[in-house]
Subunit: 309 residues, 2 copies
Amino acid sequence: MSVVVVGSVAYDGIETPHGSVDRILGGACTYISLAASYFAPTKIVAVVGDDFAKEDEQLLVNHGVDLAGLERVPGKTFYWAGVYSADMNDRTTLRTDLNVFADFNPKLPDSYRTAPYLILGNIQPSLQRGVREQMDGLRLAGGDTMNYWIKDYRDELLETIRDWDFLLINDSEARMLSGEYNIKRAAAKILALGPHTLVIKRGEYGAVLFHRDRHFIVPGYLLEEVFDPTGAGDCFAGGFIGYLAERGVDLKQGHVESKELARELARAVIYGSVMGSFCCENFGVDRFRTLKRSEIDARFDEFKAFTEF
Amino acid sequence: MSVVVVGSVAYDGIETPHGSVDRILGGACTYISLAASYFAPTKIVAVVGDDFAKEDEQLLVNHGVDLAGLERVPGKTFYWAGVYSADMNDRTTLRTDLNVFADFNPKLPDSYRTAPYLILGNIQPSLQRGVREQMDGLRLAGGDTMNYWIKDYRDELLETIRDWDFLLINDSEARMLSGEYNIKRAAAKILALGPHTLVIKRGEYGAVLFHRDRHFIVPGYLLEEVFDPTGAGDCFAGGFIGYLAERGVDLKQGHVESKELARELARAVIYGSVMGSFCCENFGVDRFRTLKRSEIDARFDEFKAFTEF
């Protein structure tokens, strides 16, 4: 079943201890949709400028991504540049040029409106809300946010996530949103804001899924080399929603409390972790130029092997 | 089967955001032996001064800990005081008075020499080596160390761990010992130094077990309140060795590569994590005054529930 992905398509300048690249394809919508495309038909809603390269469009097409909602307008594509610390655990933004993204007002093609799965990348909460309202018959909707919206657009954000099924954020954002340092308490407060499912991402340490009164914890995959972590969180989101769409998981249809649903959500978190780990293996989206579904499933099995006891 | 535990018995002054206590029972040997005592007969080798309180001795006796190797000498017991940061992730040592521990030279009672399991708490590497040499017929021996020995007693430490079956250290120590930031690379270098089994502890994020060419990762238990993390790493060690002793795991007897051994080591890591998590629930060793084996096994089952997919 198909997934609608909304967010930024961007060009990135990235500097890591392994080297630097400029103007490579990036943006939350790009990473989410590439990761999700391995599991389910994926449709994007985004905006690019007239500098958007044919070969970058082609990468999305090669992954079967539906570009009917990709708006092209005069001007330049969103540009972001950042540099990572030696241990890759911190990054500093060097430049953010919103360009055509400054006026982004996501409009859904008619062919998107009845898609059952929706994931909203990190954009202004009111825009996220506007997209959700354009859709009909959703089985599962949710998304991501960031410290900037939590801090300065709090009311708008709370109004937006109230209707979400799931929220994916990192641990520092969870702390900021809840006002609780402890992850378990933070989760309880966030679940009271609306979403019944919360995934707190912990970078190299993995992620925790909270679903009503249960939780599931996955450790991070141990890579021998983290080449470039840009987009890993978005690829996690793509693997997560992609797997749920592939399986046709329907949280609205009454099997909400079942053990099988908890297991499907846990597996979605594993596939999210798998996609995040592959993302780190090369610069930008490069790993997805060659990645095969068989490699994804093999890594899923690895997660089983190193967590089972 | 019985376990010999060597290390410090101390009095601690601890300040956390939850309050402060002074001169409460502590020390690596104390924590390791209390945790191990839930699984297997435990014998300690340590030194205390004439200020060592009868009630503190009684707590160990109540847990069936063999005190034949607890030396009592004139003077004061080792004293340590520290204060934790607000998020509990850092601590600052305020005071270290070695007192009678300064001249500690562990001597094993004859009744200890043929015990099959040995765990060496964090003391000077040459003393750790001396203990190991006094034992005969060991099935499994290993221990802990710390940044001080890694930095200033490196050769002595390397000579000591060469003969160990397992080494338990935290992530920053693993990085320091190996010179590698990446955990997987660090582990490969450390396994080449002698031990076939390495556990890297990651605080609230859990632990990673490396055993030859396999690894196993356990996430940390999510506590709603970390009351006092003092001794958690030592309790991990106690649960780890205790479980292996309870099961009679014998790494010398040829089934070294078997899947079942890998599973036993993984379960030992889970029991270690369980004991570490209980330790954090109250000041010092207080949680062990009431803790029951049934609670330990229930938490083991919880680990299964929140990691299975």
